[in-house]
Symmetry: none
Subunit: 403 residues, 2 copies
């Protein structure tokens, strides 16, 4: 029996679950023997949670493997990132929180410029400013293809997303970007039988788009890359029986949550507003994914002190979250990967994770941090895909397997 089949067969009613994801929270000491960002931070509330909860180290994908945001979150949501891969087009669509459906093919598009012979002169249309490219994108909404719903959405500068929605569209079409100037955009070519219709639709889109763009001074052509359908994820409702809400500021994480069938609630602009949204929606959902971005951002900046402060920000709002918990509810604080300021990038290091509910077997951890969770964590080292079953269990939501 496979993991998802097992969970589905055991799921039952129980308490609420709050999964707080502090992006890239794991870190490294700047000096051997020194504290990590998390250990350097003053975190009385996270420490109190660790003291009464149970900690462990989460391996996002596999030992040594550094995940991007997509695989990192998929793992936390309980989908094996090696099985459920998110194509580039879908990730781009997720990144603007476009609600990708099962019949959608998503494509990352670039505006480019071509000369009178149709040869590319600039593959990125001079990185045309977003406010201008958004206007050009609007023009492309005029493209009509019979039997296909077409979405065209701006992303940033020369980048935009096209989504074809319809029956019988495969996601396996080659990129049309020739990867050099002085060449025409390539024809979209299907790489399998199921994607022939998609290639035809893409060709038709391209032809109409070129007519529309004719005479545009800054962006008179386009290339299409990363054709992809969404991975066939069972939704949180199907898999866990959880009515799930996602609370995030950044579109990417909303997009990833919506792939798992979570509902996007509120429109918070900062962490305090995220907690407000959580309060407002507390009675309406069983599961909450709350995403805190800036531990990752400051880690990526290579700024140890700033990352430490972002940890303290999370600590500051924690009481507002834990105050909501009822007797049978479960809370978890974790990250999708580590982003040590020392490396100024995502890394492969395991992520300290703390879980609390009245069913947890409290371990001897007194603080939330890498060393403490590693040395004394009652959850040991575990793969991120096993976190959701652990949270379900801690919320009394997993029945007995076998008699």
């Amino acid at each position: 029996m496979e993991l998802h089949e097992l969970i589905q067969s055991l799921k039952t009613d129980g308490g609420k679950i709050v999964m707080v994801v502090s992006d890239g929270i794991g870190g490294l000491p700047l000096q051997p023997g020194g504290p990590t960002e998390l250990e350097a931070a003053n975190t009385p509330n996270l420490d109190a949670l660790a003291a009464k909860g149970v900690s462990g180290m989460s391996t996002p994908v596999l030992p040594g493997v550094t995940p991007g945001s997509g695989p990192g979150h998929l793992g936390l949501f309980g989908y094996d990132p090696l099985v459920f891969q998110i194509g580039r087009g879908v990730l781009e669509a997720a990144g603007i929180a476009f609600p990708v459906g099962p019949n959608d093919v998503c494509i990352r598009c670039n505006f480019c410029t071509v000369d009178e012979n149709g040869l590319i002169t600039d593959r990125r249309a001079g990185r045309i400013p977003t406010e201008e490219s958004s206007e050009v994108v609007k023009l492309l909404k005029a493209v009509k293809i019979p039997g296909i719903e077409v979405f065209v959405e701006p992303v940033k500068e020369h980048r935009f997303v096209v989504v074809f929605r319809g029956e019988g569209l495969g996601g396996n079409v080659a990129d049309t970007d020739p990867q050099r100037t002085g060449a025409k955009p390539l024809d979209p070519v299907a790489k399998d039988e199921e994607s022939k219709k998609t290639a035809e639709v893409a060709k038709e889109f391209f032809n109409q788009a070129v007519q529309i763009l004719k005479g545009q001074p800054k962006a008179n052509c386009l290339t299409m890359r990363g054709f992809a359908k969404k991975p066939n994820l069972p939704s949180y409702e199907e898999l866990y029986g959880l009515k799930a809400a996602a609370i995030a500021v950044y579109p990417m994480y909303k997009g990833l949550a919506s792939l798992a069938g979570m509902e996007l609630v509120g429109a918070p602009a900062n962490l305090d507003e995220e907690v407000e949204v959580l309060k407002e929606n507390w009675d309406k959902y069983d599961f909450f994914f709350l995403h805190w971005k800036y531990t990752d951002s400051r880690g990526e900046d290579g700024d140890f002190e700033a990352k430490r402060k972002m940890v303290e920000e999370l600590d500051r709002v924690l009481p507002g979250i834990t105050a909501l918990l009822g007797e049978n509810d479960c809370i978890c604080v974790t990250g999708d990967h580590s982003t040590p300021a020392k490396m100024a990038s995502h890394s492969f290091h395991p992520v300290p994770t703390v879980v609390y509910s009245n069913l947890c077997r409290t371990d001897s951890c007194q603080k939330y941090g890498e060393t403490e969770a590693n040395d004394k964590g009652g959850l040991g080292h575990f793969q991120a895909i096993h976190l959701m079953p652990l949270l379900m269990a801690h919320a009394g939501r997993l029945g007995k397997f076998g008699a």
Copy 2:
């Protein structure tokens, strides 16, 4: 996506990696509560490495499974020993460092004696001394089979290796040893379609060999066992992008390394010479496998004190190895399995392992030993096949998975 596919898709350039394998290094206390061989040893250099590095416990195959040298090393090299199995003939060939190629069928042969009717009188030819059997082996090099390259190499006493090299040779042929005296050697019988040609070649080899051996006083016949082709291992170069060198004294470990496509460098006769060979070749390779045999040998002898001394020998030469490490390089000290003197045999116990690079998340281990690595090791317990990805990551050689 499968592990090797993942690693191959993420591999990138980075620092050098040194994997020091102290064979059978894991041990057991002689008395409950006492130290293991490793813990009893005085190892200031290994302890210093553990203090600044990150430790963990490596499970060679699966919990409870005691590996032989073949599966033990395959696991460390990152090949799942349950997937990539080394047939007996190949292991025998590896044991004399014969460079087994993809078109080779390897066979463990025994000299035997037969009476005038061809019935076996001694299945091991009286354990004929190696110096004598080596001379008889030389005679067999006269066997010629059209279209097939034939290698005949001595091993020890009555044992020798035959290798057939050629196109279309399957490795699935039944043993010809009837397992009793008073019977003739069996005909080699193919167990599948692809191995029919091999069976014919083996029959021809046998016939010519018997003619050559006629009249030999001590060994006038042979049996053939363990027909096998090498497992289809992707090489270190293909899999990890590593130009890999193996430094070992014993032929078996050279043979195992050469199955993984490592180059055998130098001809060291002891540990000091192995370190010399490492120095001499430092600039020429990305990866070094350095094998230290005697921790296993003395464990097999059941000699706790002698094994402890062999650990101290390794500790003595360690500074000569670590002195070579550049800023981005990575070193690991581990074993292919445990060989507790208490058991005088290989065992299933996890193997203490330490990794150091400037990317390691230093844990609270202060010494290199079983208890310390188990209680505080930042790598936790891991399967040996995940060690190579971990070392790649620590040497900055694995890119990000997904965006």
